[in-house]
């Protein structure tokens, strides 16, 4: 491989990873190597911020005495990395619209894909950083010499991610090689979506149910046994068991590499060029007599029906919040079947809070306008009302968002055994929150409009980029927790009527102002 080629390709992909930050830096006069350096620094800086945030959040847990929680976190974030890995690998190798632009140039395929994967991987890394923090804290609390802890933690982190991504690539390349894939591309992509989602969600549910307290430590969970060697590496890296475990892990990774080298690499080029031509079904039944609204609705549905897009959006806007809520907000099982009736307003508030977590920059509602690509400019030239066009889009986006967020709220309500009336309150809060936020993110999509994207993930990191996404998730979680705890305390006090009255007043005034703002600043500009 040619180092200069990889550097140049990485520089290109860094610009693609966050076009808006790139534009901002260009306006500041940065170009060439300085621009690339600034973009790399952004990732480094946000990585350090994430490490700091996770560190502060987790510092109170003494993982050196909690092998159960240690293995739980490793499994949780490995599952997240696995599902993200499937999505990223499929995207980079089979859905990149710019692959053809690279193929004719005298780069090696491995150079092109390495640079692409590298940049996409660093955008995912912050979401799995908690695992690195767990390794660091475990070594530190176990009294391992600090430099050794840092080196071993980094090594373990990279090794585990490499293993997880290798497994993801085996799944992706295995499935896409089948004849079935070439004939039914959409079905196979959907299958990938289902496999990664189901495995992750089942894994989370399974682990959350394995919460029997161990005899040794009343605060710990039952460890996941096959992951205990990783705990030994982190807690006693220089011991005999630690070293044996590390060597075994390395051997396992090397074995996986050999499998990939033998089974995947020899046919990669053929597989990719033929896959990029496998278009799947291109015919559709023509429905006659549809009016404009129906035609626009059908068009918008076609935009979001792409299984790859569904896979990415659901993984980022739905799965990430689930993992974050599970890992940071819940330590064990909670049953709320005897919840105090005074807390119904708080449960409505939980619904609102859940909406702030699930409706984010990666949701359907936040992408729908940009998904038009060049069609958007063309549609403006047609004699149809832009306001109606955008409202049709908004209604579809809101409905999809409501379905996702509402399903999560419903499942949450059932899992925590909330009484029916509380589930209704939770769903109402969630629906209202989703409606309000849908306005925000729809207007944001228009404000940050990007029609020349080549990979849908570029739309996710617009604006504040990855930092914004994680801050939004943390901010929503922390802010909502504080407000809800205070509201809960108020609701349980003797002034509960007054507290609820104030809450209703704040909600109504706040919602009114919110909707008026978006009406005036966004919707009215199209009339």
């Amino acid at each position: 491989m040619n180092k200069q080629h990889i550097t140049a390709l990485t520089a290109v992909n860094l610009r693609y990873a966050n076009p808006q930050v790139t534009d901002k830096l260009r306006k500041k006069g940065k170009k060439g190597k300085k621009l690339t350096q600034s973009l790399a620094n952004q990732f480094l800086f946000s990585g350090l911020i994430f490490l700091g945030i996770y560190g502060v959040t987790m510092v109170l847990m003494d993982f050196s005495k909690m092998p159960g929680f240690f293995t739980y976190y490793v499994a949780l974030f490995s599952l997240l990395a696995f599902s993200q890995g499937i999505s990223v690998i499929y995207n980079v190798f089979f859905e990149s619209q710019d692959l053809q632009a690279y193929l004719s140039l005298p780069f090696r395929q491995t150079e092109i894909f390495l640079a692409k994967s590298l940049v996409v991987a660093i955008t995912i890394l912050p979401f799995v950083f908690p695992m690195l923090v767990v390794f660091l804290l475990t070594g530190f609390r176990s009294g391992v010499f600090l430099p050794v802890t840092i080196v071993i933690s980094l090594l373990l982190f990279i090794l585990i991610l490499a293993i997880v991504f290798s497994l993801s690539s085996l799944v992706v390349f295995g499935l896409t090689r089948t004849k079935f894939f070439h004939e039914h591309k959409k079905v196979v992509t959907s299958l990938l979506l289902v496999i990664s989602m189901v495995l992750t969600v089942l894994g989370i549910i399974f682990m959350s149910n394995q919460n029997t307290q161990s005899g040794l430590n009343q605060l710990d969970r039952v460890p996941i046994h096959f992951l205990l060697p990783i705990y030994r590496i982190a807690s006693a890296p220089l011991s005999k068991t630690g070293l044996v475990a590390l060597v075994s892990l390395l051997a396992f990774f090397l074995a996986l590499l050999l499998v990939i080298k033998g089974l995947i690499l020899p046919h990669l080029y053929d597989q990719l060029t033929s896959a990029s031509m496998a278009k799947g079904e291109s015919r559709r039944l023509h429905k006659t007599g549809q009016n404009l609204s129906q035609l626009l609705r059908m068009y918008n549905l076609q935009l979001v029906k792409d299984p790859n897009l569904l896979m990415q959006v659901i993984a980022s806007s739905f799965l990430m919040p689930v993992v974050f809520i599970v890992s940071f907000a819940l330590g064990g099982s909670v049953k709320l079947n005897h919840i105090d009736p005074h807390l119904i307003g708080v449960v409505f508030g939980v619904g609102l809070a859940l909406a702030t977590m699930t409706t984010n920059a990666t949701s359907f509602i936040s992408l729908l306008i940009s998904l038009d690509q060049e069609n958007f400019n063309f549609i403006q030239s047609l004699p149809i009302s832009m306001s109606n066009y955008l409202r049709t889009k908004f209604r579809l986006g809101f409905a999809m968002q409501l379905l996702l967020s509402g399903s999560l709220a419903l499942v949450g309500g059932l899992v925590f055994r909330l009484p029916v009336i509380f589930i209704v309150a939770l769903l109402l809060g969630n629906s209202w929150g989703t409606y309000l936020l849908s306005h925000r993110y729809f207007a944001r999509d228009y404000r940050l409009l990007l029609l020349e994207w080549t990979n849908v993930a570029q739309l996710f990191t617009r604006g504040a980029g990855n930092k914004g996404l994680v801050f939004n998730m943390f901010g929503s979680l922390l802010g909502s927790t504080i407000v809800l705890v205070l509201y809960g305390i108020g609701s349980m006090s003797t002034y509960y009527k007054l507290v609820n009255l104030v809450a209703v007043f704040v909600l109504l005034i706040g919602s009114g102002l919110w909707l008026r703002y978006y009406q005036k600043k966004f919707w009215q500009t199209f009339q």
């Binding site: 200069q4 140049a8 390709l9 610009r15 278009k279």
Partner: protein
Amino acid sequence: MIEIKQLSKSYGDKVALNQLNLQINQGEIFGFLGHNGAGKSTTIKTLVSIIEPTSGEIVIDGLDLATHRETIKKKIAYVPDTPDIFLQLTASEYWDLIAVAYEIKEEAKVAKLTELSQLFAMTAHQDETLASFSHGMRQKTILIGALLADPDIWILDEPLQGLDPQAAYDLKAMMQAHADKGKTVIFSTHVLDTAQQLCDNLAILKQGELLYNGSVDTLLESSPGERLEDIYLKMAGRQADNQPTEQTEQLEEISHE
């Protein structure tokens, strides 16, 4: 020299290219003519490694493309039919990428870019993104990239589309100059006048089949008094028309002689 042997490409049941045999000599300008869907772009994309053929072989300067891809790619510069690539990059960044890909030295790159960007009136726009350019300006940016690489083989898919008359005139002159240096130029076009003006040899394709391969002069001699446009349309027929015309059969005989 480029040898295309028994080249076929199918997408499921649809045959895009059927057993194509061609030989393109060094130093000639070779044109692909045909209606939409005739197989011109498929042939070109196969030559530049974007499409893997279903069967057949491409040999360039004695090297098999399937086994010497990296070496052969360095001999070729490609201009795609739609210039909507690398839109997030500025023109300068795009040219930097090309320079690294073709391993062009910094001084040579700067000297050549100064000359080319002046020629194509792009000097003032080199720090703007391709996304902000018109179709013609994107085309010019990619053409500059291809000229920067100064390859042995220059392959252009519908290169004149969207260019202003001055740029089109300059490009045609460059294609001729490139061939005059002993290098090969391959392009596809719908513009028959351009083909007549530039091509030493051409191939007329229809629904993946080769209808004619030979020089423009031979083709014109086959129907004295007729223009290339008339001959082409008689040969290729209307797009939905599958039946070979009498003229087609006659010309196939000539091309196989």
